[in-house]
Structures are given as structure tokens and as C-alpha cells.
Symmetry: C2
Subunit: 298 residues, 2 copies
């Protein structure tokens, strides 16, 4: 057959039908879509409006969740900056291929920060103790233990745990010193996970919706993907906290709990690919290849 559109479509029929059970496989093999459809409501959790940012671009809305359990100081500071209107009229400053898109304001800019700070102590990691991590069993190139906690991808060395730089994760830019960032300039990962940034910078959250608006920003031609002229920049119309938006105007997103039985099934469905397209069921998965499902609460 000519490998055109239909063949191409089949290539990624990742969420499509289950296949006949193999010898030794579970009798009930479910697709990712079926797993999610059949999940109990209790396995989903409304994303806290106090941790939810609506970032409006000319092309549409990006929704970001702040990782309050890992980086409470930065989450509080970002809330303060958002409430001061600091990001309204700020810019996409940079788009570096296979790396990050970053936004904020120029150095020397004097936009009022309200109660927000321009620099904060780092929150690169936190104690492992007390954190319930849904572990992945496959090896990881960077860390002894990887998995998920509070809805985010994380790693640990036994004593400390930290958020990991997977696709769609959001971090707070900093200068050369650990305490030079604050969340007043943010970046999002748009390529292969730059895990070497883990524990070197404060990762503050993840994009829940609208990632496709950020990932296609034309790459900047300056060093590190910075735009060289103001005309190349996209202006951020405004950023608000969902908590500050009238309830009737909110988009009530709920995320699959990463400590749920459904999420463990999601992981296994990505580890063993049972869809008919897969000739080799794989049997492995990387931390940054596990989807973190989000849906609008009905």
C-alpha cells in the first residue's frame, strides 16, 4: 500500500482499540481511552484555582498549574506578580528549538511588581520524606528514583525529591546565583527533556492546556533563541489566576490523580503497547513519556 494519510494515521493509533489478548497477558486489555473513560470520578481532582494561571495570548489561552507542594515560595510570588498585573503586556522573549520558550520582561524594565519579589531563595528540591511517589520501575538516565507526585513528574535520590524538566514543564529563569530567580521570567520545555536543568533551577509547574500555542513560537535567531527585534515578540495580553476569575468564567480542569489506580493503569498501558499497530509491545517507558491526563469537569 501507499503509505499516505491512512497509513500515517495508523502510525499513531495510540489511543485506539485494544488487541486480542496474548498468551499470558491480562484477559482484559484496555486502551488508554477506555482506561480514562471507565475511571471513577474519585480518581480525578479539580486543579486548585489558586494554583491555576490563565495566560492569554493573541492566538488563545494557555493554562498553567503551579506546583505548590514542591515550590510554595515561587507559587506565592507568581500569584503576587499576576495580581499586580506584572505579566499583562509582557512578552515572549525567546524561543530556542528543542529547548525552551521563555517570557517576561526586559532587564531594567520598571513595571510594578506589587507584593511580588524580584529574587527568591531557590526551591530546587524538597525532602523526600512525606512525599508519596508513584514509582516507575524502568531505569532512568538521571536519577535513582523517578515517578509522580501531586500530579507532576518527579525524581529523587532517597533523601531529596525534585520536579523534573519534562515536555510542558514550566520553570523560573535565574541568573548565575541560586537566589536570582523569582518566577518573574518563566520558561516552558518544548523539546527533549533537558533533565540536566533538574535541581539547577526552580521548576514551578506545568502547562495543562494550550501547550501547542507556545511550542510553535517561531524560533528566535539571536543567541539562545532570543528574538532580535521587538517586532518578533508575541505580546502576552494578560495573565490571571483562575481564583480571581468569576466562577462562571472559569474552565474547571481536573487532573488524573497520580496516586490513583487509574493512573497506574495509564502507566502500564504506555509501558506495554497492546494496540494492533505495535508489532513490538515495548515493555518500557520513560518518565517524560507518561501522559498526565487533564479534562474539563462536566
Amino acid at each position: 500500500m501507499r503509505a499516505g494519510v491512512l497509513a500515517a494515521a495508523a502510525m499513531l493509533a495510540a489511543c485506539a482499540s485494544a488487541v486480542a489478548p496474548e498468551a499470558g497477558a491480562q484477559a482484559q486489555v484496555r486502551s488508554l481511552g477506555e482506561i480514562l473513560e471507565q475511571s471513577p470520578a474519585s480518581d480525578w481532582q479539580l486543579v486548585d484555582p489558586e494554583n491555576t494561571l490563565y495566560m492569554d495570548l493573541p492566538a488563545g489561552r494557555v493554562i498553567i498549574e503551579l506546583a505548590d507542594e514542591y515550590t510554595p515560595g515561587h507559587a506565592a510570588n507568581i500569584r503576587a506578580l499576576v495580581r499586580a498585573g506584572y505579566f499583562d503586556g509582557s512578552f515572549i522573549l525567546r524561543s530556542q528549538d528543542n529547548y525552551v520558550v521563555q517570557w517576561g520582561r526586559d532587564d531594567g524594565d520598571t513595571t510594578p511588581m506589587g507584593e511580588g519579589q524580584a529574587a527568591l531563595p531557590p526551591e530546587f528540591d524538597r525532602p523526600r520524606r512525606g512525599v508519596d511517589i508513584t514509582r516507575l520501575r524502568d531505569p532512568d538516565s538521571y536519577a535513582r528514583e523517578v515517578g509522580f507526585a501531586y500530579g507532576f513528574p518527579v525524581a529523587s535520590n532517597g533523601q531529596r525529591t525534585w520536579l523534573t524538566h519534562c515536555y510542558g514543564m514550566v520553570g523560573a529563569g535565574r541568573g548565575d546565583t541560586a537566589d536570582s530567580g523569582s518566577g518573574s521570567s518563566l520558561y516552558v520545555v518544548i523539546g527533549q527533556a533537558p533533565r540536566h536543568l533538574d535541581r539547577n533551577i526552580t521548576t514551578v509547574g506545568r502547562v495543562l492546556q494550550g501547550m501547542e500555542l507556545l511550542s510553535v513560537m517561531p524560533r528566535g535567531t539571536g543567541a539562545l533563541g532570543f528574538y532580535e527585534t521587538p517586532e518578533e515578540r508575541t505580546t502576552i495580553t494578560r495573565v490571571r489566576l483562575a481564583a480571581d476569575v468569576p466562577a462562571s468564567e472559569r474552565i474547571n480542569l481536573e487532573a488524573l490523580r497520580t496516586d490513583s489506580a487509574t493512573f497506574r493503569d495509564v502507566i502500564e498501558s504506555r509501558r506495554f503497547r497492546r494496540e494492533s499497530w505495535f508489532l513490538d509491545p515495548v515493555g518500557h517507558v520513560n518518565l517524560c513519556n507518561v501522559p498526565l491526563p487533564v479534562r474539563v469537569r462536566q
Copy 2:
């Protein structure tokens, strides 16, 4: 300090100056840029014009290298299709966020294929024996052995070796059967490495230049990122083999040999981050985070 442009720039000063050697570190710590600048010419290899595709889009040129050592049948078929003009006036069919951009023609299209075939036996892997792999020492989530061969990222299980789906790698779309692909529809990885596709599909090469033109294709709104209307598609002006272009019009790219001492230094420079920005030198690297340097031969 306010984390604006300068702070942001520092965030990724990945190719910048070396730092003072630590106790136990090599006396001579070089940045990636220095490693490449100081490399002998013999560590670089001209990319074979018979394996080089010039794919011209309205926004510019994408240059792709075919992995002839791993997938000779597909490389030969793609050459034949290119020489038949099969891709001239074909389309970007699909752009799926954090996954792939795919191009080719619709099912049922009757554009002549010349000597090209519409379906080929798969080339998912090849014997490990006889392949000199520059190994990575860090663990990998998907394979027992990973590293580089003939300028490409590869994995192996001891008996067989295969090309891996890292960012910028190019593959041949297929239908549900192993022998339903041929390279008449191609895709490129634009997000986190979908390594579950390894050994499930024939990976045929990698983008050497112009990746930033493909990665920003607006995401399609149809299933799997397919464009829903013809107007959304970008037309591929033409595709030629470098070998068929007059020598004076060629872009003579050379790639750093992955079996060279310089490349081993590149790997170590990515494993241990000595730049002053890094507070934690990391000490690990993933297969898909090692750059494969390319430059224009002077």
C-alpha cells in the same frame, strides 16, 4: 535581581566559558564550543551527497541525512522517489504536538513514483555484530545498550541494533503491517523522544539543518494532528538529492564523527556541566540529550 533577559540568557549559557577546575576534575576543562573549535579536521566527515536531501519549503530549506548503514533499502527507495519528483508539490500532512510532523501525499494519490516502491520490507533493526558503537555509560529506560554509530543515536540488545527516535530523527510512516511503509511518507520527531516507536517502524535518518522550520508547523486540529483542510497544509516546493545538485550549489555539511575522540569529549561535556551557571554538574546524560554537531565545510 530581576530575572529578565540577562538572567534568562545566563540560564542557558551552555556553550560559554569553562569554570575553575574542581578537585579531582581534569586540569583542562573545556566548553563545548572550545572542544569543537579545537577539534582536528579528521574528526569531521563530509555527509555523503547521495545520503543528503534538500527539502525546500516556502520558509526555507531543511537538510536531511539518510542512515544508509542502518536502512539501505529505504534510503535507496527514498532516493528513487526524490529522483522521480514524487515529493515536489507534496504536503505537510500532520503536526501533532510533542510528537511528529509528517509529510507526503494523500492515500489514493497517483503521482508517479518512478523507480520507487510504495511498500518495502521493514528495516527495524540490523545485526549488532560489526557495528562500532560509541557507548553511553548512563542507564537508559528502553534499551540495554545505547550510544552512537555512523553519526546517529542507536540502541542495542546485544544481538540487534537500531536507530532511536530522538528529536530530529526522521522515520518512514507505515500502516498496520510491518511491510506497509516505504519512505513515501516521512515524519520527524518534534518532542520528547517517542522511543516506543523504536523497532516498530523504520527510522531512516535525521534532520541536519532547518529543524526549526518543521518544529513550528501549526499543530493540526484533527485526530493525530492531521490538518483538516487543504488550506492548512504547507506545500513542499521540491526535494532534491545533494548529489543531483551542481557542486557549486551544494551546502557541504560535515558531521562530527561519533567514533572520534572529539565526540567522546562532547559527551563528557554534556555529562558534567562545568559552566559557571550550573550549581550541580549533573553527572549524567541521556542518549537524546547529546548533540550531534554539524557544520558547513569551509
